[in-house]
Symmetry: C2
Subunit: 251 residues, 2 copies
């Protein structure tokens, strides 16, 4: 008798999210460059929580109301009207510890709100800095999973796909996976994992970030596994590390 | 001084087509399993033209009016109300020569109509059976290209991606390609091209077709290069081989 396994699908663009039933499903929001890398870094470094919001105006208003830090980017740059951007390296413990980060980004925070509206059972965020924490959680939960790639303005991108592949490589024995997107992600990751830094230098988003804004240190952090190995879970409008998860993580 | 090159993009789903500007662009409709393989086979085997239509009702009505052959599939099977399906092997010369095929399919014909509505400059169809004819045409035309994967009910699929990769491998020096979808397609094709028959047996659509309907011969034809090496061009509502193209093809 074969063991029952939950399903795992990968969705390559927010524009394809409606094709998947996300009820009873954990949705992993993936925005490697850089929203979900920044979220992991901020929480790892002691932020009380991260509140993802749609617009710059909301980020400014809410951060005033709750004495938080308004941050975000549009088109890869610090958004007009904000003092802080979407760089994971901005959020050192000396700056972020005990604070609330109110974050708005082009792709990642938008996908999170879409997953919420579509009725996802649980939402977490993932990127290479918290790869192992994501995989451990997905294996423990024994629920259906959708790996949701944020892409770039609804287009497919490779860095989010590579992270989906890295997750699949670790969790595949625990899930029933019949999905060409997942197969593609895993094949590409297995093909490229030994040379990720060289490989990402060929990606469109790399050129957008590094050539235009000089963010090579950011990129390095974003593609290195487990540099901020915490599990951000979305509850009541904010991303935080649950006490039980934090304890488990330390153990 | 670097030579001017037209752009090439790959679009993984009809649901993402609106993200690309297709004016002044040749759109290649790709539906490997099986619409665009069937179109190549029917034209190669002497069909006067292929008229792609949206619905079964239109296929039936139009084929009566023009004394054509109504054919098509829904969910991989011959559509209810039609005598002929979407199998390239159905269209032997003895059956199709001099006839008009009126074809409706789940994914390919739908994408073709979307490209038309979005103002594509030219529309051709491609699959492994006419790989070289497609590449030769794209190189000769020196225009922007969008490789449009029909997918399966708007989801990404691997067989269409592999064909996009096969095209890119041949034409890449003639185009400016900065697109993660194209890079993914080319990497996967290079990785799998020596073992395509084994590889496609792992794809979701393979299981749909072979396990449920036993179409293994169809699949073999659809992934073998140049078995029907003609160039179907869409003009005035129909796909046909242009006389000039046909002559060039024979030369």
């Amino acid at each position: 008798m074969s063991e029952f396994k939950p399903t795992l699908f990968t969705c390559f663009s927010p524009n394809l999210l409606h094709l998947y039933d996300v009820s009873d499903t954990i949705v992993v929001i993936i925005d490697v460059f850089r929203a979900t890398s920044t979220i992991a870094a901020a929480l790892k470094n002691g932020a009380k929580c991260v509140i993802p919001v749609d617009t710059v105006a909301k980020a400014v208003e809410l951060s005033r109301q709750i004495d938080g830090i308004a941050a975000g980017e549009r088109d890869g740059k610090i958004a007009d009207g904000l003092a802080h951007g979407n760089s994971p390296l901005e959020y050192h413990p000396s700056f972020i510890e005990g604070k609330i980060l109110v974050l708005t980004t082009t792709n990642g925070t938008r996908l999170l709100h879409m997953a919420l509206e579509n009725g996802a059972d649980a939402i977490i965020t993932g990127s290479f800095p918290n790869l192992d924490a994501v995989c451990k959680y997905l294996i423990e939960q024994k629920k259906n999973v959708l790996l949701g790639c944020a892409g770039w303005k609804d287009r497919y991108n490779l860095e989010d796909t590579l992270f989906a592949g890295a997750v699949i490589e670790q969790v595949r024995d625990h899930f029933s996976i019949h999905c060409d997107s997942s197969l593609t992600a895993e094949l590409l990751y297995r093909q490229q994992k030994e040379r990720l830094p060289e490989f990402v230098s060929s990606l469109t988003h790399y050129h957008r970030l590094v050539e235009r804004f000089g963010l090579i240190e950011d990129i390095r952090f974003c593609i290195t596994p487990n540099g901020a190995n915490v599990l951000p879970i979305y509850r009541d409008g904010k991303l935080l590390i649950e006490p039980t998860v934090a304890v488990r993580e330390q153990g």
